[in-house]
């Protein structure tokens, strides 16, 4: 059961919970085989671990396939409008600190139409957990390129290929002053849940990018990271305090590849550990206030092939939490001026009396 600061004001459940407690009575209506199912199951089976009173958990979503998510959670929920979930959740979380508020969004919802709300939520550091389902395509509108689609993507709206450079959601979040940024993959339940755990424990806004397969319009977008033949070389698993190593195991049992920093430019690159030696391998520090290393890590992956994609918690730092500070200001106002006195307020200082 979590006792983190992030959830300290949220009432705990009376008894033990199971995954079933978090399943709503609604029929799940994603396409068969959609990655959303795996994420839903991972979240439903993870929630009992937090042990929060179910009625104090709220899922807020925007528009898109993934945004149907709240209907399937037996908690409070709101399926709102396109892109606006972070704004709506901000109002809810800042006015109700006894709630655990989760935002479910997609790449189009969060990064295109709702980009402004996302960056400002991250900047403010409101106590929100944002799950960004990135399938690199517009699913619900039937297959147009999204702001995370690779350049040159052929879709219904780009028959000759997309002309746009994609966003890297993790880079974007770090640039937007996010205090917690992680990435995970729909099919890796264990990893997904470990990231959810860290996010839930984080006081402030947590952004979790979840690579999610849309088997209808962009099947296999993340295959390089899932296929056992390629994944070992493609995925970089980050652990705070551990050297960043991946690839086929070296003699010491850790990966034979490592991430090293160029001492002159500060740039990160992948090297053979055997060549450069273990001492040069970067040790992952998610807690360092300076975002430079996390940002450099987020740039390692090839945007087209996703080769060298770091997953795990890239950044997890303590920063003042907006809703906490807002509540503090209210308390301070009361201690400075006393509880609001309506009659006094209405009267003001300059009055006259008509007898």
């Amino acid at each position: 059961m979590s006792t983190s600061e992030a959830l300290s004001l949220v009432p705990k459940a009376a008894g033990k919970q199971t995954m079933k407690d978090f399943k709503s009575d609604q029929e799940v209506r994603w396409c068969p085989g959609c990655g959303d199912y795996a994420v839903l199951a991972a979240v439903q089976s993870f929630m009992p671990e937090l042990g929060l009173a179910r009625e104090n958990v709220v899922f807020v979503s925007g528009i898109g396939c993934s945004s149907r998510f709240p209907y399937y959670m037996n908690t409070y929920g709101m399926h709102s409008i396109h892109g606006r979930a972070p704004a709506i959740a901000t109002g809810l979380a800042t006015s109700r600190r006894d709630l655990s508020v989760w935002v479910v969004t997609g790449d189009g919802d969060a990064l295109s139409i709702g980009g402004n709300h996302l960056i400002h939520a991250l900047r403010r550091n409101v106590n929100l957990k944002i799950l960004l389902f990135n399938n690199r395509i517009y699913g619900l509108t039937k297959g147009q390129y999204s702001p995370t689609s690779e350049t040159g993507k052929i879709t219904k709206s780009t028959p000759m290929g997309s002309l746009e450079a994609p966003f890297n959601p993790v880079s974007l979040a770090i640039g937007a002053e996010a205090s917690f940024v992680a990435r995970t993959i729909d099919s890796d339940r264990k990893h997904l849940q470990s990231v959810l755990r860290a996010a839930a424990d984080h006081p402030g806004t947590a952004l979790v990018e979840i690579y999610q397969n849309c088997n209808i319009f962009n099947d296999g977008a993340f295959e390089a990271l899932k296929d056992s033949a390629t994944a070992q070389e493609a995925v970089i698993r980050l652990e705070h305090g551990e050297p960043i190593r991946f690839g086929a195991p070296a003699e010491d049992g850790l990966g034979s590849k490592g991430v090293v920093r160029d001492p002159a430019t500060g740039e990160l690159s992948v090297a053979d550990v055997a060549e450069v030696g273990t001492d040069r391998v970067l040790v992952h520090d998610a807690h360092t206030p300076n975002p430079a290393a996390a940002f450099a890590l987020s740039r390692l992956a090839d945007p087209d092939t996703l080769h060298h994609t770091p997953i795990g918690v890239l950044r997890n730092v303590a920063r003042p939490v907006y809703d906490t500070d807002m509540a503090d200001q209210l308390d301070r106002a009361v201690s400075l001026h006393g509880e609001g006195d309506l009659a006094g307020l209405l009267s003001g200082t300059d009055t006259w009396t008509v007898p």
Partner: protein, 654 residues
């Protein structure tokens, strides 16, 4: 040079005439001859950097505490510092005060204080013959006059012969008064508005202590500036008392008879509206949440509410208009009294979220301080052209109740009424104020707390439906049979976990539904809910009972319309007046009222939006009289327009 300073003010108008009575030597101070007036209209005008709004505000406060009835019209450019000395840079503040009940800031000033040639030129056209003009002669340099296209000084070429001009070297006198202050010339010069205020305070016997106290408070951190402003203010007063140029001062008695018993203060529309929101929160026992993005002329509400965190008020300055209303809607879902404040362009951005609030059926106040449009339009000027946007500016059938305050002080009551509707019927509600009400001010009788409505609501606390198998469940869209409101079940309530959204919902269960018949039912039910909102009948003022013409208005035109109607009646005309506070739904008796008159005249600061609604709903020949100048109607013009309509074919119809 003119010196006809003792000529009586002759700018009285038919509806609010001047009574000029000479009273000699009865006053303690000023010591000079004093005349009694029943009302005065003063306009302060200067560069936007000259502090005219502050000067006007102070004169207003003095006047309010003296007990006159009053009404104000601040008028300023959108630019913070428009080019100095130019016509577009002129900022003015008009104040009408009287010993009786008045309704408007006045059609034409009796007194103009012009701080420079631009201020004189920009306002000259509004002055009636005989008006007094006080000018700062120091600013009438060749260069300054050239900026407004004057080759010769109007102060010297006789072109102001119709007016009583007081040429005063305001700048020199201010500098002289502050020569020992140690202030740099530039800083000392800036106090000239206080010199002017002092002079006017002398002329009209305004109490001065509050202004001195105000200046000391305002410049508490800069004692030398505070002292200089007070010194300039006193110098202005003494100047009036000693110089021969001002032979007479005037007294306007308190408007005791005009006011019902009570304690009063002066209040602007935006302040009254802010207080109304705080009062609504108290009366509803719900925390107030404001989501807002800065926009003229609504920002003052954000500023004001931000100062009252000790009332549990949360103010959230969002990244944009959409986030502002989104956050408010989120707070409403969580059980707050949620508000978003904006102006027309902001409403356009918020439309989709208002539609969501209609679909979610959650309480939400959308405060629109209307300004001139379309697009950016006239940010600092007033207009009523968002009525149809409030009524219809959304996709789908998305009815939203609309409430409009009639006067600055009425913004308080209107805010409470909008909150009542939102909370009772679980719906977004538009509160349509405008720039004129927002910035204008008038005396307000401070209500006793026990006069305020009880706005408490009950959140849902348990199941409201039993399934066929006997299971107790919660249906988020099971309605109250009376109000058709759905239950407000806030997160944190065990057993009522539910999901709502913008997709059409099944009646009762609230589950997603694409069923055609259900959609038809839900659309009609949402409409029926709004149509069924209980609003008081509209009252008609028709003293003779024989009027054949009704003047019907809404919102901030109340003052000018009422003044115009009084004027017509004084001339012997029979005219009825009614004013709408509720524009959606309309009062139940409105159809009958309209049909009882041969002619219905609808004055609006738009191109006839209410008239359009009335024609569509009641099939009446509502006649529009419209003006979109960014300024309120003048009573005289309005009276003439209504009279003209009354007299059309009068022999045939009446």
């Amino acid at each position: 040079m003119t010196s006809q300073v003792s000529s009586p003010i002759t700018a009285g108008t038919a509806d609010e005439p001047h009574v000029v009575v000479d009273v000699l030597g009865e006053q303690r101070k000023p010591a000079k001859e004093t005349r009694q007036l029943d009302r005065v209209i003063i306009r302060f005008a200067g560069d936007s950097g000259d502090g005219m709004q502050l000067t006007g505000d102070r004169f207003t406060s003095e006047t309010a505490s003296f007990g006159n009835d009053l009404s104000t019209l601040p008028n300023f450019p959108a630019e913070i510092r428009a080019p100095a000395g130019t016509l577009p840079g002129v900022s003015s503040f008009q104040l009408h005060f009287a010993d009786h009940d008045i309704l408007t800031p006045g059609d034409a000033p009796n007194v103009l204080v012009a701080m420079n040639p631009a201020a004189l030129k920009a306002n000259l056209g509004d002055l009636p013959r005989g008006a007094e003009i006080i000018v700062d002669t120091d600013e009438f340099t060749k260069r300054a006059m050239a900026k407004v296209g004057w080759a010769a000084s109007p102060l010297e070429d006789g072109s102001l012969g119709a007016f009583a001009v007081h040429p005063v070297p305001l700048t020199t006198l201010t500098l002289e008064a502050l020569k020992d202050s140690g202030l740099a010339r530039k800083d000392a010069e800036r106090a000239k508005n206080m010199f002017a205020l002092g002079l006017l305070s002398w002329m009209y016997h305004r109490p001065t202590e509050n202004t001195e106290a105000f200046l000391l408070r305002k410049f508490a951190k800069k004692p030398d500036i505070a002292a200089a402003n007070v010194a300039a203010f006193r110098a202005g007063w003494n100047f009036g008392e000693t110089t021969e140029d001002f032979a007479v001062s005037y007294e306007v008695a308190p408007a005791s008879a005009a006011f019902p018993k009570g304690t009063y203060r002066n209040i602007s529309g935006n302040l009254a509206l802010s207080y109304g929101l705080i009062a609504a929160s108290k009366q509803a026992q719900l925390p107030l949440f404001l989501g807002s993005y800065p926009i003229t002329p609504a920002s003052d509400i954000l500023h004001e509410l931000s100062r009252h965190k000790n009332f549990g008020v949360r103010t959230f300055q969002a990244e944009d208009e959409i986030a502002a209303i989104g956050a408010a809607l989120g707070a409403s879902f969580g059980g707050a009294l949620a508000v978003t404040t904006t102006s027309g362009p902001g409403v356009a951005l918020k439309s989709e979220t208002i539609g969501l609030a209609v679909s979610l059926e959650l309480p939400l106040l959308v405060v629109d301080i209307q300004r001139g449009g379309p697009s950016t339009g006239l940010p600092t000027k007033t207009e009523q052209a968002d009525l149809l946007q409030a009524m219809y500016g959304r996709n789908g059938e998305a009815p939203v109740p609309v409430v409009a305050p009639a006067t600055a002080a009425d913004c308080f009551t209107a805010a409470l009424e909008a909150a009542r509707i939102a909370l009772t019927y679980r719906t977004p509600v538009f509160l349509l104020s405008d720039g004129y009400l927002a910035n204008g001010s008038e005396p307000w009788r401070i209500p006793q707390l026990d006069e305020l409505p009880d706005l408490r609501v009950e959140f849902a606390s348990g199941p409201n439906h039993t399934d066929a198998d006997g299971t107790e469940t919660f249906w988020p869209y099971l309605r109250d049979p009376q109000t058709l409101a759905r239950p407000w079940a806030v997160p944190g309530t065990p057993g009522l976990e539910h999901r709502i959204g913008g997709i059409e919902k099944q009646d009762g269960t609230g589950n997603i539904s694409y069923d055609p018949a259900n959609h038809d039912l839900m659309v009609r039910t949402r409409q029926a809910k709004v149509d069924g909102i209980a609003v008081p009948d509209i009252e008609v003022d028709d003293p003779s009972g024989t009027a054949r013409t009704l003047v019907l208005g809404w919102g901030s035109t109340y003052g000018p319309i009422t003044a115009a109607v009084r004027r017509i009646r004084r001339e012997g005309g029979q005219v009825a007046q009614a004013h709408l506070r509720h524009l959606n739904p309309f009062p139940g008796n409105l159809g009958q009222v309209l049909k009882a008159y041969d002619r219905v005249v609808v004055p609006e600061m738009n191109l006839g939006q209410l008239a359009h609604l009335l024609r569509a709903k009641y099939l009446v020949d509502a006649r529009s009289f419209t003006q979109v100048t960014g300024l309120p109607f003048k009573a005289e013009q309005l009276a003439a327009a209504v009279t003209a309509i009354m007299e059309e074919n009068a022999d045939v119809d009446v």
